[in-house]
Symmetry: D2
Subunit: 347 residues, 4 copies
């Protein structure tokens, strides 16, 4: 059994990491830390863990050596504690934004984050694209949830040269759980329940993450026009990628083929085809709790637009599930181990 500690496990992503790891056949959850809930049982903040464990939260400083550390602390925290924390684990998987970007991009998008002289180099853990690099990785940064959805849809088109990289619009819609477990006015139920608001029309940090990742994985850096809109749900992201044909398409199905061939061997990405289902559109609802991403692609031949929609659960495929997926790959375990849940419908 691999001994895994979860740092900052009192929030929503932490709760999902715990849910997945407690049911993982090759993992033992050695520790879970939370300043707020130290001394309490795991199910105190996480009602879905009732009966799943008798473990109690430890304070961060009580962290002991382990095989793998999964950090769910907010951005800025792992960087700040790097010198104390990093020696305690052979491998580290971080869910924050601390190590997703190279030094130049990091300085630009997170100018106020405390930075060590030398930023440790993490593998950007987009499993379907990081591939073999994850197997040998010591340190892995889990992508941001909206970047994750957008990239799974966009990368095949950029790599195939189908779309103009200088003009990509990503309109992402997100539920409230991405904002975390700390209450504030904008997440107060009477204010949020009917919210349909573009809370970040420009300047969202995932912009930089998507741009950097297009370069990393395809060699071509896209210019990404990103907006994020809050919708009245708790879980789930739908990223709509509006891209524009770089050349005449062979036929209307060429983008679909690019997506389908990219993910043919990847168990967690499904490319939906019209008419195959009574629910032919990617939507996050039935993916809640799963590590799956559903994609679709549509073409407006007359106007030269290619639209990809990508749906996923921000807390699983967009966070905790990808952490476990990366863990499986790092440990040489079967890719889908502990990630078999298929979702619920209706929900």
């Amino acid at each position: 059994m691999t001994r895994v500690a979860v740092l900052g496990a009192g929030g929503y992503a932490g709760g999902e990491v715990l849910r997945l790891l407690l049911a993982h056949p090759a993992v033992e959850v050695a520790q879970a830390t939370s300043e707020q809930h130290a001394g309490k049982r795991l199910d105190f903040p996480h009602p879905h863990l009732r009966g799943a464990s008798t473990l109690r939260f430890a304070p961060h400083d009580a962290l002991e050596p382990c095989d793998v550390l999964v950090s769910c602390m907010p951005s800025g925290e792992l960087i700040r504690r790097w010198s104390q924390v990093s020696p305690l684990a052979a491998r580290i998987i971080d869910l924050s934004a601390d190590f997703r970007l190279g030094p130049v991009d990091h300085a630009r998008w997170y100018p106020r984050a405390p930075r060590p002289a030398e930023l440790p180099e993490f593998v950007y853990g987009l499993p379907e694209w990081a591939g073999a690099r994850l197997k040998d990785a010591r340190w892995v940064a889990v992508p941001g949830c909206m970047a994750h959805a957008a990239l799974l849809g966009l990368l095949p088109l950029v790599r195939a040269g189908l779309v103009r990289p200088e003009m990509v619009v990503v309109d992402a819609k997100t539920g409230s759980s991405g904002g975390g477990a700390t209450p504030d006015r904008s997440s107060h139920h009477p204010e949020r329940a009917s919210a349909l608001r573009c809370y970040r029309p420009t300047g969202h940090r995932h912009t930089g993450e998507i741009e950097a990742a297009t370069e990393r994985f395809t060699g071509t850096r896209a210019t990404v026009h990103f907006s994020a809109t809050a919708v009245p749900s708790v879980r789930g992201i739908l990223a709509t990628v509006h891209a524009f044909a770089a050349r005449p398409l062979e036929d209307a199905n060429e983008p679909l083929r690019a997506l389908a061939s990219t993910y043919r061997e990847h168990p967690f990405v499904n490319v939906l085809r019209a008419n195959a289902s009574a629910s032919p559109f990617p939507e996050p609802g039935p993916l809640s709790g799963t590590n799956h991403c559903d994609l679709s692609v549509d073409v407006d031949a007359e106007r030269g637009r290619i639209v990809v929609n990508a749906a996923l659960d921000n807390l699983v495929k967009g966070a905790a599930g990808t952490a476990v997926h990366a863990l499986n790959l790092m440990l040489g375990r079967p890719e889908t181990e502990g990630l078999g849940f298929r979702g619920l419908h209706p929900l």
Copy 2:
């Protein structure tokens, strides 16, 4: 592997039966029938089954012999087809109301249902109370979802003689999925999304089911005053049982002890205690997809009222999960096999 066929598998309960059985280690899904979806793949109406099976729906008449038949057809259908269907399976688990009541109660509450001269005798499959009878059962009727929740809360109090059986009020709140997959005006999203309506203040058929079950399991027939209210959710039931002390309580915790001792050995029923959780109230949200029921009990000593709240997922503990639970018991398998999912939070 036990070969199981699912009759009427195109609706919501059928979809959940399929989800659970397709992941069950001791079961092979041999057939799934649906008139509406005959010839289509299981994931056509059930998006959460994408990738889980290549099976296609057969029409009802194509049903072949199997070890166990799970019928999810609407009430009235299995009775009507009894002579053709019953010889095909050694064991039958029915999710409809056809066989939940004895002949007298059935005639009273379902006066228009077609009835064979001799109604086959099914075991009323409330697992925590039917006990050993389920192990030997050939035919099992899964309780109605709201009756199920109310009974788990009420039965321990009646059996212990704590409450007056002639005066029990059950105020049940339910999501929309209990109404099934067929659209109508009252389930049309603009009409249902903000619904908070007591759509069945009196005369709900689960009244008879609860009354009959109190007699069956405790020897005392309660008089139940039942109302059902639609709330703005999809999954889940909260049944609030208002009962009245039959005698002075030993102390304020006596009802809690009655519940806790009843379910101590039962893995799917959890009795919540105050302060053990940041979410100390039974609520169906985090139970979505699970086979668990959460209970709490409160006492108004001054007025002599004992209030039990019971929460469960109507499609799982209230339908498909109990079918699988019964199947496990009938087959001598571990009680929780295939039912390990713990739920999601937040949701």
Copy 3:
């Protein structure tokens, strides 16, 4: 024009009081106070007041003399400031619980509230029942929102001697806006969005308010068994009153006649009849923003139960609208002035 000041106008009830008064033809809003928003425009916390006023919030201490004061401060605040505030206004309408109960009941249900030696005597402002007393009132206490709904349904039955007063169950369902504008964990959107939780099974303070009001208005004090359940909506209350026949009914419509005759002349209470509408059940959705309460009554003759359902908007009929209704009556204005909004459907 009557000059009205609104004390504690930064919360949800205050926002609705302002909305109604700013459009009221006989009223001038002289001041609105809020500690949190002092100096800000009214539409800063209240987006629906954009363009409706250029007034800015004053701090509480800046309150100046006015004709009528409407206080929306939390319970305990007006009592505490009584000696400073009460001389400033000829008439005071209070939306808190400070003055709803007589001294004995107040001490029992609000033991920690600061109390002056002599509690000022307010008229309990249930307009349809307080009647002429409101016209002469100097001080009016607006009823609690859930008590208001329950009482409108229950009082006609008690007065007519139709139900047993010692056994009344009130199961109230409520949206999140009743909890006010201050964020906390239980109102955090991811925790509240799917909530279906009986958060106050016993001991709710509206119990005492309902019991006292039955005595005040009918001469018979009912014993009320009250529970409050949070449902996934923002606005609205549905109170289900389960009462029990005190004697054989003349016929099944006797309770309906009792309700209908009580409210025949009252413009804001509607008694729904079966089949008169495609939406025959009282539900708060289409009543949002209105000062209306919809009632229905059903009878289970066999078991002797009479069920009344009462729906209203907790922020309007349950708070701000009743304040304006009382104001109209106190000022001798037309009862419905400024309260003509009919609601939206669908919503």
Copy 4:
């Protein structure tokens, strides 16, 4: 009093037209027709009209002469009945798509609609842009709800030459009420309640409407890349317009000035400024029931993107309210008459 008949008044837009007209001081509702509800009272399908009228629906064929006809029939119906209906009213306001487009565009986007040899010429009733033409209009076509939102945001930028007309992306989010009152699978509550699905990524008919209107009102025809996404709400649209600077901006506020100066004199369009509110983003929630549209504009100077967000209530500003607004202008009444409702918050 102007006598107005409402044709096809049994649906959601019809219900809102009736709500507004019944409270309009200069209008008498002479007739309301509905095939489905003929003979029933207006409040049978429209619970929010309880007490507002004793009128009953007539069948379409019973339509009598009137001053103004408002048609809420589905697209295709008014065209089909044109020869019978048009002689009955001096003025006609149509809420369908029948007369929004010129003959060429109509044939392209509605190829299956029955078309008279000569399509009557309607004024495209976008009030803030149609201006004086509405005053003299005999026939007015109310814009489509999503087109309406997008155009209010886009037109000022195109007219000012600020954005490249050949590359405009409109990502519209919509509630379920836009789909009308007829139930189907996609609007069935369990399927729709958590929907976040881009149901029309390309080919939406409002594309043509927006393109044609840019040409009509600015002289420059934009190429519009339009997608429509269903979100979990009932009312409301948020249209996010992603446009690209055609030239260097004078400063970051130039687009804001273009919007603000365009709508300075228009009472129903509000341009939001950052920090002026605790809710600084356009969102349809607090606009429910109102005839207002909220706009905001943001600039990504580095990437040359200008983002406009436009929020409105699809059934009011996007349908019934604009019909009444046009009616006011046609009759020479005050522009805001009957349209004074300010909305509710929270909702």
